[in-house]
Structure formats: C-alpha cells, structure tokens
Amino acid sequence: MVVMAPRSTKSTDLHERDLLRRVRPDDWTNPVARPLYELVVVGGGPAGLAAAEWAIRLGLRVALVERRRLGGDSLNTGTVPSKAIIRTAGIHAIMPRAEELGAPAAHELPVDFQTVMARMRRIRSRIAEYHSADRLRAQGVDVYFGGAHFAASDALMVGDTRLRFKKALVATGSQPQRSTIPGLEEAGYLTSETVFELASLPKRLAIIGGGPLGCEAAQTFSRLGAHVTLVQDEPKFLPHEERDASQLLSFSLARDGVDTRLNTVILGVRVENDVKILETANDAARYRIDADEILLSIGRTPNVADLGLAAAGIAFDPVAGIAVDDFLRTTNPRVYAAGDVCMPLKFTNAAEATARMAVQNAFAAKRRRLSLMTIPWCTYCDPEIAHVGMHVWDASERSVSIKSFTVMMQDVARAITDGQDDGFVKIHVKLGTDRILGATIVASRASEMINEISVAMSTGIGMRKLARVLHTYPAQSDAIRLAALAYTLDQPVSWLQRTYARWFA
C-alpha cells in the first residue's frame, strides 16, 4: 500500500473550528440560573441531548450541563468518526478485489491519510449541527458549559452557580478503561478518544483488546495500509457475540491482513529506539510485537468521578456505574440516570432510549421498564455483526428452550449478486412457539437488517407472520424472510390440512 505525503491542514482547521462552534463555542456565556429547574441534565452526550429534547417537548424548564463538548464520545471521538473512516477503508479493501466484481483491480491504490481524516472531520462537523449549543438554546434549553457536581439531594453546582432542580438526570457517559499492563503508561498509547487525532498513519499498530472497537480499528487501519496486530486475551474476538459470528470475523480480519493473536496476554511494554515493544504470552509461548503506536481498547468505565454523587445520596460503583432500578431511578428518588454511566450495554441508541425513558418515568404517569427494552447493536466490521435480544446462553440460563433458524448469506440471491455473501441470519425462536427471542446477523449491512428483527420483536410479530411479509426481491434482507420460511417449513402439517388438500385436489 502506498502512503502519500501529508497535505495542508487548512481544511482540517476549518472543520475543527466549525465543530467547536457547534459543540463548544468559544464565546459561550452560561445563562443566568432560574430559581428552580424542573429537570437538570448532567452530560451533553447522546443521552443528555435526547433527555433535554424530550423534556422540552413536555414543556419543562430544562438545564443541561456539559463538561467538554456536546455530542459526547459518540460524535466527537467514537461512533461518528470511526464510521466515516470505515467507509474509506472499505473503498481501499474493495479496489484490489474489484476483478471479482468484473471491474479492473487497483492493487496499489495510494492512501492519503490526511484526506481520510479531513473527510471524517468534515462529516463530524456536519453532524454536529444536530447537537449544537445554539440549537439547544433555541429550543429553550439552558445550556451550561463546565463541570457539575451535586451539592445536595436537590441541587448541583456548575462553577459558582447553583442549579436547584425538581428532578435530575445523570448522563455523564463513560471513558476508555485504563490498563495496568507494566510499562504501557510510560510507552504511551492511543485510546478511542485520541486515535482519530492521528496526523499520520502508523506503519505498525498494535491493538490491545478484541472487542468491537478493537476489531473495527484493526480492520480499518489494516485496510488503510498499516500493519496491524490485534491482541486478545480470550479465545475469540467479540467475546459477547456467538461463536459463529466471532469465527467469521476472525476469517475476515485475517483476509484483510490483520495479524490476529487470540489467547494472548501482554506481559509488558517497553520502548527501544522509538519502537514500542510488547512482550506477549500465548500459553507457554512468548512473542514480541513491535509497534509504532499502541491502541488500547479493553472496554469502557462509567464517568462517576467528581460528581459529588455521594452528597446527593446516589449509590454507584466505579465499574458498574450508577445503580438504577428498572425505571432508571437512582437511590436518590429525585435523580435518574441514563446511558453509559448506568448501562452495561454502552451504545448510543441505548443511551438515547434510556434517556427518553428516564424523562418519561420522572414526569409521566405511565412508567416504562428498562428490562422490557429491546436493544439492537452492531460491530461495524466487514461483514457487520449485529445482535438483538437473547443469545443462546441467555435462554439456556433461564431454562428457556430455543431453536435457531439460520440462513447463510451465501444462499441469498442478492448477497451473491453483490459479492457480499459472507455471513448469516440466525433467528432464535422459543421452542414450541413462533416467538422471536433474539437474532444475530452477520452481513455487509447487518446494522440495517437487524432493525427488521427489532421491529418484529417490539411489535410481537412471530415467525409465521414474518414469513408472510413480502420482501423486495432480490434483497439481502430477504434472508430474514427465508429464515422465517424455514421455520414455517419445519412445522408439521396436520392431518386435517392434508385431508383438506387432498379434498380440494
């Protein structure tokens, strides 16, 4: 892979300025506090923004406090930037294989890393408009920038300003988990918060942690031309996904040139001649990995520090985050929490949904339960790996017998014509019924396809009805109908049905 020389950063600065103008304006003046807010939201990430918007809709007096930038990690350092770069990396992956699709292959496609990053910044800045401080203010939200901490069970301090509230929502999100690997701090490393600030593509990138972020980054940077080594201390990547999905991911990572190391622990890191050296162990074997940069992606920890939670009687745990009940209420009845700070599933969609649920539960008569929420998620590798509802082991642990109906993408006409036939649709059904309990989809657009299953689960559509829903043909999502059809074909035909059929023959 050819890597081009750096270009001017002028456009980059422009996009950065635009972004800041929207999510953290230089000239912002915090409003004069009202005597009493009906809702104070702490944190301006996806959860906080969704909560504020929902509360304004209900006609409430709302304040929102953000310590850094609006949009949270999702917009600034996580979801949005990574997807923008994944798109470019996908182009670099497809061009050398274009011959398979009947087009000329481009094997030495140059990578202009600055252009890749500039596109990401442009996109980030554009999307930031939907989360801007001006927009919030125009909607009627009192936006405060600064650190907030509870001063009492019904009051928060932002600097010297006291915000009294009837209800509060803590939505402070999470941050990359730190590591105790000897020598890592001294050697220096990137996290999801800093990896998208890279000015140039590292020649050798070592990634510690094979969860969603680690896998996405490994494939992306490898496709852009870095030599990536992905180190995972467990037997499979994406440990929370099922074996077949993780296995397919391992194949695709290897296909993209990622040096994958499973069951491997890092014993220590040191620096020699500007090279970061990772000493690793796989069972009895010892290996050395040389890298120019290290990306640490071993999970996220909730942001619970410096909030004065104890002063407000809000119970929390440094690892699990703020304790909430099934209605998202904390141990302080006035205070709710939403998003990463209290959820084991740390996803943008879950953050927004729990935030709206918390506002609903705080201010409406009809309360909604967290345990009934259907949360789909996706790891944006190629192919994408999406899941919703129960896994097989969840069902087994609850003594629920299930059967999975699987359609391989290699048997789906549109996936074959698209040359995107890696993956499968697997729908878990409660045994003896047609009720969908969960699904895993591995496909190029699994993130889109899983939503059909979410709709079916949320609205109680079973496999029988799903099999009768006409899908466009050909379409990759037809795999879902085919899985439902497999369910129907698997059902015994009754004696009565056979008799009728013969009667009318």
Partner: protein
C-alpha cells in the same frame, strides 16, 4: 484402484477395514505398544490413536486378523507402558494427574513438542483402555488387562481438570498451567464428560455436563435440524464407542432427537452444503462431501478465475460457517457408515473413481484438495493418519456388527456416566 471399485460393497468394506487396521500393526512400536500419529518418518505417538488401536485389537480377533492371545499380549504391553510411565508435573513426563500428553516419544514415552496434557485425547485413549477391560474377560493376561484398565481409569483426576471452574479445561501445560481455548457449543467432548462423570475416584459433578450443554445451539440449517458443530469428526468420535440410538439427555428430550439422529442430520447437512457448493470448489457434490479437521494445502493465496482463493494448513474445517478451502477428508464419508450406508458407500465409491490417488494400500489419506492447483493435480496429504484409520476400523465394525457398541453398553463407567449426565431410555 479399479480393483477396489469393482468389488461388491461387502468386499470393499472388508478391504478398507483391513487396510485401515494394518496401519495399526504397521506403525506400532514393538516394545512400547505405542502407535504413531502418522506414517511419516519420526512421527511421535498420539495417545488418541493408541485408544483407537486398543479398540481395534478385539475387532481384529473377531475378524480373524489376530489371535486372541496375541491381541491380549499387545494390549497388555500398551497398558503396561502407560501404567509404568512417569506421572508428574515435570515437562518431560508422560502424563500428570492420570492424564497424558497428546504426543509421546514412541520409544521413551516422554512428552514431545512441548505439547499439551490433552483431556480429550486422554479420553479417547481411556475409551480404548476401558473397551479392552470389557472385552478381555478371561484369566491370565486378560485378568491383568482388566486390573490395569481399571487402575488407569481410576488414576485420572477429572476434578482437577475443572480447574475450579464449571466445565473442564481443554488442556494443561507445565509451563503455563491450564489452557483456555474455550469450548462453546457441541463438539466431540460428549464422551469426555461421560467418562469423567462415570469415574469411581474423581467424578465430575453432573452440573459440569449441564453447564457445557448450556452452550449448545439447536439450529435449522440448510433445512436440517441439527445440534450444530462444524467439522464432521465431532459428530463421529463419541459415537465410535457409544451407541446413542434411543438414549436421550435433557437437551435431546427437549428437541425430540438423540445424538445418533443428530449425526445423521449433520451428515445430511454436509451433503446439502456440498451440493450447493457456495464457494465453487472442485469436486463437491452430494456424492463428494466430508469436511473435517485436518491438514490442508497450507496458508496460501492463489489468484485464479479472476478471484482470490485462500487455503489453510492444519485446521478444523466445518460447514456451513467454515472455514472451508475445498479440502475434503477422504476417510470421512466411509466413517459415517453406521448413520446411513447409502450415502457413505455411494460417496466413497464416487471418490475412489474420481480421485483414486486418495487411497493407497487400501488406506485413505487424511486430506485432499482438488481445487488447489498450486501443485498440479490438487493437493494430497502425505501418508496416513492413525486417527483416520482407527476411526474407520471402529465405524465399519459398528455398521456391520455393532460389536464395539455392544461391548461398551456393558462398560460400567459408560453406563454410570450416561446416567449421571441425565441420559435415559433405550438400551440404558
């Protein structure tokens, strides 16, 4: 090869079973009774192959290939080798806690290649040990065989292998302790849990089997209802010794199936996959299938017909999730004989007619890849592997007489283990 394909089904099976058995006699060390993993020069012993060999001797007696006295002598020699081997946590021992290292030096019986103390391979060895203990029911050498077989089984500390966890670990090394490769989903380990649960000395708790089956996945795949496991051998190994027809554990009761039926459905799945042949590999058809663990052409990428083909070395191939690089296991179709003779024999005949090079000296090689054109006329695994040959001897015998199954039905550890795992019904 014309000679083979011209034989009647019965004569063909005779030849291939005898050919497979001759591997055991050809590659057994005269002093230690240990059997080589492969026919290649300087191959170490694989303890699993020894387990198959111990199971083959009674079959050889039954078929008139060996005298009972010679079989007893050979068995006794092998059992002595293991009983008198060094059991310690030292890196060059033969075993530890009653388990054995996967690969041993044929002469010294010591561990080679820094290999792992293997739980599943020890299990296959013990299956052969227990079978010998059941078969040899006379006095003299045979009484000693029974004593040694019992002692070897009693010495195994299955509880240690839990490593304080809920399910058994896969292996252990003196250099780093227990290995954690993760056993998720159904695989060949059923017999491991059965023998572990049946132990009179260090039995596994019944919950360990339940905790393993929690990871099972009942799937409708390519129109077949299966308890899924990709590589074909995983549907065969436990069945070489245990007759699973009609006996059911809790999982199988819930799905109205049994493990025998499941292997049959999995075979149908392999055939359907080969017929669909999604990756357009050379040769695959409803009469040429059987994708399993084993050698391959190596980790290479070839560009042909406007696309890249990736090939693998030694790996557990499986369908339909993969990996699949066009490598078939030529022995696999025949090894499915007890689950349905029609497809097994038709497939084997088709294979012998189409690719006669996969069989020499009446023994199938371990792997063949007709798609891999990097070395001319496809890739062919060199020599023979003991596991393939041993499995074939047992499976052909089970198909023809049910001899091994009948013997093991009378084996107390098997009966106790099955009951503790929650199996009921049928012959149990």
């Amino acid at each position: 090869m014309d000679e083979l394909t011209g034989l009647s089904d019965s004569a063909l099976l005779d030849r291939l079973q005898r050919g497979a058995f001759s591997y055991i006699t050809d590659y057994t060390d005269a002093e230690t009774g240990l059997v080589a993993d492969t026919s290649r020069a300087d191959s170490p012993c694989s303890i699993a192959v020894v387990g198959f060999a111990l199971s083959c001797y009674p079959i050889a007696v039954r078929n008139g290939w060996m005298s009972r006295a010679a079989a007893a002598q050979q068995t006794l020699k092998t059992l002595h080798s293991f009983w008198n081997s060094r059991q310690s946590d030292q890196p060059d021992a033969t075993g530890y806690k009653g388990f054995y290292y996967h690969f041993l030096h044929m002469k010294t019986r010591r561990r080679v290649w820094q290999c792992e103390l293997s739980l599943v391979d020890t299990t296959l060895l013990l299956a052969g040990v227990l079978l010998a203990g059941c078969y040899f029911d006379q006095g003299g050498d045979e009484a000693e065989i029974r004593t040694l077989a019992d002692a070897l089984y009693r010495r195994v500390d299955w509880q240690w292998a839990l490593n304080a966890g809920r399910t058994v670990a896969q292996g252990w090394k003196p250099e780093c302790g227990f290995l954690h490769y993760g056993w998720e989903g159904y695989n060949e380990a059923t017999i491991l849990y059965i023998l572990g649960l049946g132990s009179p000395t260090y039995p596994l708790p019944p919950s360990s089997f339940t905790d393993w089956t929690v990871t099972y996945q009942s799937e409708n795949l390519l129109g077949q209802n299966v308890l899924y496991s990709g590589p074909l051998f995983t549907h065969l190994f436990s069945h070489a010794w245990i007759d699973f027809r009609g006996i059911r554990d809790k999982f199988m009761r819930a799905t109205h199936s049994d493990y025998f039926e499941n292997s049959r459905n999995s075979i149908a799945l392999h055939r359907e996959y080969a017929a669909r042949n999604p990756h357009d590999y050379v040769g695959y058809s409803r009469n040429l299938w059987g994708i399993s663990a084993g050698e391959g052409p190596g980790y290479e990428q070839l560009h042909e017909d406007h696309r890249d083909r990736r090939f693998f070395g030694y790996t557990a191939r499986g369908v339909p999730y993969g990996p699949d690089d066009g490598t078939i296991s030529p022995w696999a179709m025949l090894a499915t004989l007890p689950f349905g003779a029609g497809p097994a024999i038709a497939g084997t005949r088709h294979l012998l007619e189409t690719y006669p090079q996969v069989c020499s000296s009446d023994r199938f090689c371990s792997g063949y890849n007709p798609t891999f054109t990097g070395s001319g006329d496809g890739w062919l695994s060199e020599g023979w592997f003991g596991l393939d040959q041993g499995l074939l001897v047992l499976m052909i015998e089970n198909y023809r007489s049910g001899f091994v199954w009948d013997l093991m039905r009378r084996c107390p550890p098997i009966r106790i283990g099955l009951r503790r795992a929650g199996f009921k019904g049928g012959w149990l």
